[in-house]
Every structure is written in C-alpha cells, then in structure tokens.
Symmetry: C2
Subunit: 294 residues, 2 copies
C-alpha cells in the first residue's frame, strides 16, 4: 500500500484555505514556552480568508537559501511562514504563494493564516505525515515567537466562533465556541502594531479581557460577544477616534459593532455597517476551520 | 441591545447540518459517567449527512407529551434526541424533522447526527444560550446512555478526519486529526447492532483498536487510517462475508477500503469501489463540523 497522499504524489501544488479571524477581546498570556503562551479571548472566523499554495521548487530557485514567500503576487518577508517551513525541513525546497481577501496588519489574522496554511499545504505537498494538532502547534509557536499574533492560529484551525478558554496550542489551550452562523460586515481604516500594544502596560488589558471572557462564558451568544468586545475596547483604551466614531454610528443606527484586535478595523453583525451608511465588505462566519482544498 | 439570535427571534425554524461519520476502528471505554465514557478511535466525517430542523410547536400538537421526531418524513422513536430536548427544557415545545443522505443503523452515525443536530437547532430556536461544548456534551451523553454510539458525536462536531485520542465529551476527550481532504465512496448491505457487539467480550476489540490507534498516531495519514482499519476489522472478528468479499475486491483492484463500525457497510478512498465494479455512493470528507445553516 502506498503511503502517499492525493496531491503530494506528483508535481501538483497543494493548497489550503484558512479563514480570517477577528478577535473581539483578549487577555495576553505570556510564557517562556511559545506552545503554552498566547491569549484567552474570543472572536469569529470569516469566510473571507487566505488561500495558501505550496509548490516544490529546486534549490536554485532560492539562491539566498530562503524560501520564496509571496502575498497577492508580491514577495514578502514573513518570519512565521519561514519558521514553519524550517521546522518541517522543507525551507529550501518550498515556494509559498498566498492570495488574501483581507488586508495584512489590520486585525484579520492574515499572518496566522499564512503560517497555518503553509503548514497544512507543505505537510501535504512534501508528505511530512504530521497530525493536525502538530501542524497547528507549529504555526501557533511560529506566530507567537514572531510576535505577530497570540491566538489567531488556534481559532482559525477550529472555525466558527471560537472562545479561547486558555492560551496555547492544541492540547494546552481548551477551546469552546458560540454555536451560531451569521453575516458579518467590516471596514478597515489602517493598521495597528500588535507588538507595540503588547510592549506597553498590559494590566488594564488583562483585566478588561478577563471580565469580557467571564461575561461570554456566562452567556455564550453572539450579541454578548460583540457587546463584551465593545466594552473591552473602551476599558482597555484601544479605540482610535475613527473606530470609536464608526462603532458609535452603527450602535446609534440600531446595530452591533466593535473593533478588531488589533487593527483600525470595525466589524458589525448582519448589515450593521451598511445600515449606518458605511461602504463595508460583507462575508459570513466560517463554519469550517483551516483545511486543504482540491 | 437584544440578546436574541437571528433565527430564534421569529416563527422560523432553525436548521443544523451534521456530517455523517464513519468509524474505521475503535476501542470502547466504558465509564459510569457518560460524559467520560465513549471510545478511542478514528474515522472520517462525510459531506453526506443529516439536516435537522427544530420548530416551535404548541403542547396540543404532542398530546402524548413526547416531542414529535421524524426521519425522512416518518415519525420515529429516537431516545438520544428526546433526552437532548429534555435537558434543554424544550421537549414539550419542539418538533424535530431530520432529512438524511445516509441510512440509519449502518455505521454512518445518523443517530449521533440527529442528537447533535437537535441540540444545535433547539439551542438556536429556543435561545437556550448554551456553548458549543455544552451542546456537544449533551448529545454525546444522550448517545452513550442510549447505547447507539460511543464516539460519533464528538467526531461530527469536529469535522475533517478525527482521531479520538481519549473517550468522552469535549474537555474530557482530546481530539487530533489527519490533515487531509479526500473523495470517499461507500456501499451498504445492511445494519448491525452496536449494542449487541458491545454486549459480547470486547477484549479482542480493545486490543485491536489500541494497536490501530498506535499505528495511526505514529503516521497520521489517510492510507494508514484505512489500512489500520482493515486490520482492526479482521483482528476484532467483525467482518461479515459480504463485507470481507467487497473489501478484498477493492484491494485486489488496487484500492483502499475497509468496514464502517458498526454496519454492514464498506467505505473506500477515491473511486475504489467503482473501480472494483460496485455501484457505490460518492461524497467527500467534510471540512466543517456540525453547524447551523441559514
């Protein structure tokens, strides 16, 4: 019997889809081991996401020894992706091309999606025979080490509306979820640096994040999630003026909205942003977690 | 702010889709607490599954005090569904209608799908505000208590190709998975009673199941899963003549196949059954776990 998988046996590339992930609130949980570090919190995954394709290439194609990584056609430096390829032992033989529905650095988990998508697609393409938890752990560690995210990867692996009860990779961090599916709108004004926010005093952030999580565990519904997120954003002092005005406009129009952590991005349920007069993108919560595609 | 969800706020029914689940191998793990009981093992979820719709009804519609439960238009008795509705406190107000792509009692987890789908849809319809883990735990316990299944519910909640490392409901049983997506074929000759098999001496079954799980953990790929399943079915003495002949025919034709636990059902990867001349149903592994639909 052959041990080879469907797409890994010939010259064809392997492709994974990873949903976008908007965090509504979080409490950073630092730890020496990046598999245990991360954050508690909650948010939702989006049908808008990132498609990551891994191809086999010859060493000649990457003369500097680094894997070629592109996002929407432009070569970029993406340390979490490079770490994942290194850990799988394929960095000198892989080329990674990502196509994203979502902008980078604006609170949609695009870097986490690229790391997780590269792990899934490279595992398939190079027949690495790793388990799903192994690949999620690789991507989570790489993302935490790079400082680009704290909880997107485990949420993106689950899909739906994840509640991160504990920080960390699978088998460390327990997950729950809000059992729902819903239309979501979003609008983005610009990026915010996760690393800069976390470099400051995180005490108010942890306090506000834990309060929000307690509320959501008490009543795990989507309206509670959005309301708890809005209070978190205010209490943690993370609202920018533009975000604050936009969220207020949606709420004044009868909708439910809050800020994506961490980007200058507002998300709303249903048609909340459109109803308030904004030119918003629309998608849905994503029923499936990250997965290989044909 | 309203706490009501999208579909629960008016007279509309709520519907959940739950993928079918084929178990390739398993080790039964009895325990006094049905949330901890269940099985270790592995299998795959299917895009063929069960759609479960919950409607609000008046008490007059159910004069005997039991909720009306139908499967493909026929009223049936389905104790795990009734237990789930009781636990959610909606048994006298709910009507449950299920439409299934898959036959009952033949190893596709239809009873688990009905219990889990009823939990998800009733939670939405009646605004019960339970978390995803709570609902999966309710359905798992109801299924174990009824003796109709041991691990389908947690697998169906996850989607993909689940590996059940431990028995039990979420937060008890750890899950992993084979990171893959694949075409699957199946053919069914008849039903087998899970309860009868488990009433016999399960020692050989536990030994064969644990051996299969060790092999799959060592190399978590789909070919390993199917090969380990085939050895499990033989070593545990569960093959019927028709299943044995069919599996052998697929393997002789160069394919990969085994038996669904527990039904007189054969599954194969890709076009394994068609290639061997069988008139098989075809679907795919299901990327999404159980979820509400619009």
């Amino acid at each position: 019997m052959s041990e080879e998988s469907g797409s890994g046996t010939d010259g064809r590339p392997s492709t994974a889809f990873v949903p976008g992930h908007v965090t509504g609130f979080f409490s950073p949980c630092p730890a020496a081991d990046p598999a245990i570090a991360g954050s508690r919190g909650a948010g939702f995954t989006l049908t808008d996401g990132v498609e990551v394709t891994v191809r086999m290439t010859d060493a000649d194609a990457a003369p500097d020894g680094d894997a070629v990584v592109t996002l929407d056609g432009d070569r970029i430096s993406m340390p979490p992706v490079e770490t994942v390829l290194d850990e799988l032992g394929v960095a000198t033989r892989a080329r990674v091309d990502a196509e994203s529905d979502l902008p980078l650095g604006t609170g949609f988990g695009v870097s986490g999606a690229m790391a997780l998508g590269a792990a899934l697609a490279a595992n398939d393409r190079f027949d690495c025979a790793r388990s799903a938890n192994d690949l999620v752990t690789l991507a989570h560690r790489a993302e935490v080490e790079a400082g680009t995210g704290l909880g997107d990867v485990v949420a993106q692996a689950r899909g739906g509306v994840p509640i991160r009860l504990d920080p960390g990779a699978p088998l460390h961090g327990r997950l729950d979820g809000v059992p729902t599916t819903r239309r979501v709108e979003y609008v983005t004004f610009g990026d915010l640096s996760t690393a800069e926010v976390l470099a400051g005093d995180t005490t108010p952030l942890v306090r506000a994040g834990d309060t929000a999580l307690s509320r959501l565990i008490e009543r795990p519904t989507l309206p509670t999630l959005v309301d708890a997120s809005r209070r978190f954003a205010r209490d943690a002092g993370l609202l920018t003026d533009r975000v604050d005005e936009t969220v207020t406009a949606v709420v004044d129009a009868g909708g439910e909205a809050s800020m994506a952590m961490l980007g200058e991005t507002v998300f709303a349920l249903d048609s909340g942003l459109s109803d308030a007069g904004f030119d918003a993108e629309a998608c849905r919560t994503c029923d499936a977690g990250a997965h290989l595609t044909d």
